[in-house]
Structure formats: structure tokens, C-alpha cells
């Protein structure tokens, strides 16, 4: 495989070079101070990108974490005379601990409630800083915060401090890039686009959000500490809302998820007031106007704008399909064959007064295809949702290879080998087909047994995930579309892509919700052929489908639900001829007769 720097990477690198050159041109102490501030804000925004950009949660705590860290540095440094090596780690630890405490109640909230709750936390921090005078110095704050230094040596202002701050910013940038590189960041994109799909491939979305929140706090801690050291003063200003607003604006204008975007945003928003200073009182109008213009011209931020320009200029990285690697062949499950793969017993579910499922019991054996039919609203999808853990059951039990999974969360059930597709396809449309599958594969490699052994390459799991994803695409006959965004695909291919993603979990049981819907006859035949092929490897399938001819061609057994009860189960032709089934489901003419 050829290694080369994709040309689209060159654009941000050029921007970075300009940033580095800047302090060599503007050399007054004031310019250097402003540029140091750019570095500090860049760190703050890099952190904010985790929770706001990647996890997609509008947290308004980043300013508070920043301020808390500044106060930790200020109090320990100015009041107790502690120096940098002691105060710096503590300034990171304290905001992270605060994040841990507030995350428990707050991260469960949805969008605007989450924003409001986090805003409240920031206000509390500000009030404490103002009122707790004996410790924080009240409204006047604390002066005499020591500079950055150790063992009696203090880093002078100007270039040395600037270089130190930017050195740390560089390390932070590397860490942020490393954590979110390639398809690792795509896992977050999947979670933002479809939480359901994320859970169904085994991603613990609550944990992902939690870790993003803590990372944000840690980066804010670094930025806050450096801010206190460079200013040598800490006052309630660091906790005021404008810090948060500036950080948010920087993330939006620079780019929410790209490392280089944090630097662009920080640079622009720190420099803009300087550039507009000549306008005196009118500078705020110009500032606001410039921001609005930016948001209109570059809704994805400057980083996104550069990408688009790059694409327009034809600077697209060359894409070669990674050489496919087959998935490990399924190991026998060590469970006695008398124990069915899936056994559902006495399942009951009510929504308000409506009974969706009533005492439903059935079993699925290894390598079996079970068709699930029934009138609209008879509970088919509810049943699949309960088996996959998306909906809790009111009563009854779901066992997978003898193990009770009734109350397990969705992601854990997925990790146990239960994969599914959705009635309305849940893919990330702006991700390529390869990425859509590779994310699931990487999740599986991270939790399962498939971790590559003896490889010395740092990125081995990532590499392997992509190559195995390429294999899955090949197996479903869609290698040609590997680099096509999923949103560009026709319905038939989208269905197949969803199945490829499900197969990346190496499932033992695959649940398909109306897989043939919207497919033409040729595509249906193709799908039927591929599903039957899957069964030969021991995989069991539950297929919900209204297209009975399609189902008859593949199913070993049919189960028919009506009003939440199983009214018939067994051999497909028997179920089809069953009088109750005809009355409830097929109507008067059970053949394909239409008026």
C-alpha cells in the first residue's frame, strides 16, 4: 500500500505554518501576550470539541472548568506559595472531579435541559468565587500568582512563556488528534447521528459521552492554569459567561471537530477585536457582523471551508481500498446444543393502556431463519426492540444461549452477538460505506476476542478494522461503493450496507426489520440469496417482512403475531394456510391476489 500525504492535509498545515510565523512578525510584548492567549484559548477549544463537537452536547460548563482551574492555580500559588509542578496537575484534577460529580445527574438530560443545567453549574461557580472572599479574594480576586517555573526558576514573559504555552497546545493538539483520528472519531459521529444505531453496534454511548465530558474538563483545566500563570492575577472574570461564549464561538467558527479548527477559531476571535480596535465604539458591530458573515459563509467552520475549497480544487486524497482480511471464523459457542440460541418466554409489554405484546414465547435455533409476520401494529418491531434491549419488557424473559439478557443494556446485548437492522435505515449519510462498517468492526475489536495478536504497529486495530470492513463490503458485493457516502446509495445498497455493518459484530443472531421493503424484484432475489448464504455459517436470523413470497423463499419457520399474541408458529406453508393467519393477516385471498 502506498503511503503519501493526502493533499487535503496540506491546506491546514499551511494555515498552521502561518500561525507559527505570526509571533515572529509581530514582536511587541503586547503582541506576544495576545498570541499566548491564542494558544491558551486553542487548548480550551480543543477540549470543548470533545463534548460539543464530537459528543454533540451543548455543554455550557467549559468556561466554569476553565475558571475553576485558574482559581486552583491562583489560590495554591498566591496564598500557599505552591509552584507549577504541584499546582498544574491539581488544576487539571479539580475540574475533572467536578465534571465527574456533575456528569452523573446532568449527562442524562436532553439538549436544552442539558444546556440549562450546565449553565447553572457555571453560575454557581461564579457566585462561590465572588462570595467566598476569605479564600478567593472576592470580587478583587487574587494577585501575585507565580509564573510558570520550578525549583526557584521562573519562565520569563515574552517568548519563553509563549513557547511553553504553544508547546503544551501542540501536545494537546496531538492528543486530541490521536484520540479522534480516523474511524475512532467516526464512532462519535455515529452516536451524534443515530444513538440507536450506535447502541446496536455495541457502543456504550453513555460512557462515550462521559469520557468526552471529562476530557473537556481536563483540557479546560490545562488552559485555566496557564491563563492564571501568564496573567499572574485571578479574578471572577475568568468565570464569567463571556469566556464560555467566546469558547463556543471559537468552536463554531473554527470547526467543531477538527483540531486545526480550534486554532483557527482561537486565533480569529482573539485577533478580531485587535483588528477592529480602530473603529473604537463601533468595533462590537463590526465584530458581530464579521462573526455572522463567517457563520453564513462557513457553517462547518473555517476547517470545513478549507476542506470544501480543497475539494473544489480537486485536492482529494487518493483512496485505495485496504486489502480485505476475512473475519475470524465463528468459534463454536460451547453451549450444549439442546439449549436454543434464543429463547423468549412470557414476554409482555404495555404502552400506556395499549398492550403491545402479551405473553409471547418462541425459540430460535442456530442456523435457522425465522420469519416474523403479522398485521400492522401487532408488535413485531416491539418484539425485536425488546430482544435487542432498546425497549424494556414489562414481564417475561429473553435468554441468549441460556443466559438471561432481559435487563441488559442494548450495547451489551450487541456485544453478546445480537445484531440488527432498522425499518427506517439508520446509517451515517456523510460517512463512506467503508467507514460505516469499519466503525462497527472497530467497536467489536475493542470489546471482543478479535484483537490482533503480535502486531507491533500502533494502529493495528484501526488498520485491521478497515481491512475487515473491506472484506464485509466485498462479501455483500459492494466494494465499488466503498468510498461513496452512504447517503448517495440507492435503497437496495443501503439495506445491504446496514447488513454489512451488523455482520461486523460477528453476530450469532441477526434481526432484520423489513429488509426487502423498497427493493425491486432483482434486489429482493439478490438479498434472499445472500441471507440464505449467511445461515450456512451458523448464524440465525429473525426476519420481519410483509413480502411473504420473499419470506417463503428463505424462512425455515414462520411466527405470526396478532394484537401482541402469537397466533401461529411453525412450518411456513402450515402457517400460511392457517385459518387465523389468513383472517388476521392475508385477508380473503391468501395468494398474491389483488383486486
Amino acid at each position: 500500500m502506498s503511503r503519501h500525504v493526502p493533499t487535503s492535509r496540506l491546506m491546514p498545515l499551511a494555515g498552521l505554518a502561518c500561525l507559527v510565523a505570526w509571533p515572529l512578525v509581530f514582536t511587541s510584548p503586547y503582541d506576544l501576550r495576545v498570541f499566548t492567549l491564542v494558544g491558551i484559548y486553542a487548548i480550551l477549544v480543543l477540549g470543548y470539541q470533545f463534548i460539543f463537537g464530537h459528543a454533540g452536547a451543548l455543554a455550557l460548563t467549559q468556561g466554569a472548568f476553565f475558571g475553576i482551574a485558574a482559581y486552583v492555580t491562583g489560590i495554591l500559588g498566591a496564598r500557599f506559595g505552591w509552584s507549577f509542578p504541584a499546582t498544574f496537575p491539581l488544576s487539571i484534577v479539580v475540574p475533572v472531579l467536578v465534571a465527574v460529580v456533575v456528569a452523573v445527574p446532568v449527562l442524562r438530560l436532553e439538549s436544552h435541559y442539558f444546556a440549562l443545567a450546565t449553565l447553572g453549574i457555571a453560575q454557581v461557580a461564579l457566585l462561590i468565587a465572588i462570595r467566598w472572599e476569605s479564600v478567593t479574594g472576592g470580587a478583587n480576586g487574587l494577585a501575585g500568582v507565580p509564573g510558570i517555573g520550578a525549583f526557584g526558576l521562573v519562565l520569563p514573559r515574552g517568548y519563553p512563556t509563549l513557547a511553553f504555552v504553544w508547546g503544551i497546545a501542540g501536545v494537546c493538539a496531538l492528543v486530541a488528534w490521536w484520540l479522534m483520528r480516523d474511524i475512532r472519531g467516526r464512532a462519535f459521529q455515529l452516536m451524534r447521528t443515530s444513538e440507536l444505531a450506535a447502541m446496536s453496534i455495541g457502543l456504550d454511548t453513555a460512557r462515550l459521552r462521559f469520557s468526552a465530558f471529562l476530557l473537556s474538563a481536563a483540557f479546560a483545566g490545562i488552559a485555566g492554569a496557564l491563563h492564571a500563570h501568564t496573567l499572574r492575577v485571578v479574578s471572577p472574570e475568568v468565570l464569567e459567561f463571556h469566556v464560555m461564549v467566546t469558547c463556543l464561538a471559537m468552536a463554531v467558527i473554527g470547526g467543531r471537530t477538527r483540531v486545526i479548527g480550534a486554532f483557527f477559531g482561537a486565533f480569529l476571535l482573539v485577533q478580531l477585536p485587535e483588528w477592529f480596535r480602530f473603529l473604537e465604539h463601533y468595533y462590537l458591530i463590526a465584530y458581530g457582523g464579521a462573526l455572522l458573515a463567517m457563520i453564513i459563509v462557513a457553517p462547518d467552520g473555517l476547517a470545513g471551508l478549507l476542506d470544501r475549497i480543497g475539494a473544489r480544487l480537486g485536492l482529494k486524497p487518493r483512496q485505495t481500498l485496504p486489502s480485505p482480511v476475512p473475519l475470524p471464523s465463528a468459534a463454536p459457542d460451547n453451549v450444549a446444543t439442546e439449549v436454543p440460541l434464543l429463547s423468549v418466554s412470557g414476554l409482555t409489554k404495555r404502552f400506556g393502556g395499549v398492550t403491545a405484546l402479551e405473553n409471547v414465547s418462541f425459540q430460535v435455533d442456530r442456523g435457522e431463519i425465522v420469519g416474523l409476520i403479522g398485521p400492522n401494529g401487532s408488535g413485531k418491531t416491539t418484539l425485536v426492540n425488546i430482544v435487542t434491549g432498546l425497549t424494556p419488557a414489562d414481564a417475561g424473559e429473553v435468554r441468549l444461549m441460556g443466559q438471561d439478557i432481559t435487563h441488559d443494556p442494548a450495547f451489551r446485548i450487541a456485544q453478546c452477538g445480537v445484531a440488527r437492522t432498522f425499518q427506517l435505515i439508520e446509517l451515517v449519510d456523510d460517512m463512506t460505506c467503508l467507514e460505516n462498517v469499519a466503525v462497527a468492526r472497530l467497536t467489536r475489536l475493542g470489546t471482543g476476542s478479535g484483537r490482533p495478536k503480535g502486531s507491533t504497529k500502533v494502529d493495528a486495530p484501526l488498520d485491521l478494522a478497515k481491512r475487515q470492513a473491506a472484506h464485509l463490503l466485498e462479501r455483500l458485493g459492494m466494494s465499488d461503493a466503498a468510498f461513496e457516502p452512504a447517503g448517495n446509495l440507492a435503497q437496495g445498497l443501503r439495506r445491504r450496507l446496514e447488513i454489512a455493518r451488523a455482520l461486523a459484530l460477528e453476530p450469532r443472531l441477526l434481526l432484520l426489520d423489513e429488509p426487502a421493503a423498497g427493493l425491486n424484484e432483482i434486489e429482493q432475489q439478490d438479498l434472499a440469496f445472500r441471507l440464505k448464504d449467511l445461515r450456512t455459517s451458523g448464524l440465525a436470523l429473525i426476519v420481519i417482512e410483509h413480502n411473504v413470497p420473499f419470506l417463503m423463499a428463505i424462512a425455515d419457520r414462520l411466527v405470526c403475531l396478532d394484537a401482541g399474541r402469537v397466533i401461529a408458529a411453525g412450518n411456513p406453508s402450515d402457517v400460511r394456510a392457517d385459518r387465523n393467519v389468513i383472517a388476521a393477516y392475508f385477508g380473503a385471498q391468501p395468494q398474491d391476489g389483488l383486486p
Partner: protein
Amino acid sequence: MTEPLLQLDGVTVHYGRMLALRDVSVMVRPGEIVALVGNNGAGKSTLLKTVIGLVRPSSGQIMFDGTSLDELDTAARIRQGIGYSPEGRRIFPGMTVRENLEVAWRGDRAAARMRLAEVYQLFPALETNADVPGWRLSGGQQQMLAIGRALVSGGKLLLLDEPSLGLAPALMQDVFVRIRRIASTGRAVLMADQNIGTALAVAHQICVLRAGQLVAKGPAGAFRGQGEIAAALLTGEPNATRPG
């Protein structure tokens, strides 16, 4: 012959640089059911969206009931008596079933009540769930609701995108019987359907689209039992990517 209710004349649609429809002319008369058939990406949905005004043609014109639709936006077209049921069950999840149906109606209450009764007769499941919020409906019931909403606003013309998707066989037969009955009262239907069998069974006229072009049209009877329609459909590119 009766005057056409809807007439598309040489309609061409581009998505960016990509050609989605080329020089398509289709006519629907009052009381007539016209089915658009063709592969995914052939342009069926685009054609319906063009009629309702969600997509603007780059050339060609659309006449409805004697006036041009070209200058009207989607809301105005719906007020003209066109009902549209999009692909993918776009219902209002936070509203009840009844509210979902009522928002589609502009006009006097008596007529609205009649339309509601008509929808409930067509889909009894919607009547029993009238006060249930939309999100709680099953996928197939949401599909019924989307069609029902189109029935409420479509006093003259119904545009149905894949109406049979996700409906149980018995219900599907029922829906098509009733769509025929609705058409017999003078309302026209333009529908897109992947399933050639259903299209042939329910429609009066068939229009076959392939890669954005109208390749065949005629009375459904002429297509029945003929291999050519299948050939016309299936020699398209099944793997063609879909625009937008």
C-alpha cells in the same frame, strides 16, 4: 376525452450537475390512477416532488386544473387540492393521530369531518388510535397516517410515494381497493411503486421511468402479462447511485 387534471410537459430536473429527470411528459385525468414504476434512482420520487413543488424543474412546465403551478410554492399547491404522502413516513411524532390528520385540512369543518371519516373507514387502525401520539404508532400504522393525511388535503389529486411500503398483505389489498373507489369519485392518483405487480393491479395507466427518462407508457392492461415491462425495468442499473 376528459380534460387532463395534471399535465407535466417536458419536465427536466437537475440535482446540482446530475440529471434526475429528462424531458418527462405525463398526464393524469380526473378519476384516473397513474402508476410510476422503475428502479431505485429512476426518478419516480423526484417526479412526485416536482409536482408538489419540493423540487424545481430546470425546464418544462406543470399544469394543474387549467392553471400553471410553476409560480406556486408547495403550500399553495397543497391548497389547490393536491395531497402528498412522501416516502419514509413523515408524520408529526408529537401530535396525536387525529391532530396529524386535522393539520392537513384547510376549509370548513363539515367537509373536514367527512374527509376524516373517509380516512378512518380506509384505515380503522387510525380511528382506534385517534388519540395516540404519532411516535407510538408502528411503522405500518405511520404509513397509513401519511397516506391518510394526503387524503385529507388532496381533494383533487393524490401523490403517493410507495404507498404499499410496510403494509401487511391484507391491508394492502384493502388500501388499493379503496384507492380505486376514491378514484371512481373523480379524484386522480399519481403514485410511485417499486412493486410492478401492485402497480399493474391498481393503476389505469403505467409510466415506466429509467434513469430519469420516460421509456414507456400506456394503459395497465397493455402491460399485463408482458415481459417487456420487466425488461424495461430490470435492464436499468440496479446499482446506480441515487442523487440527493
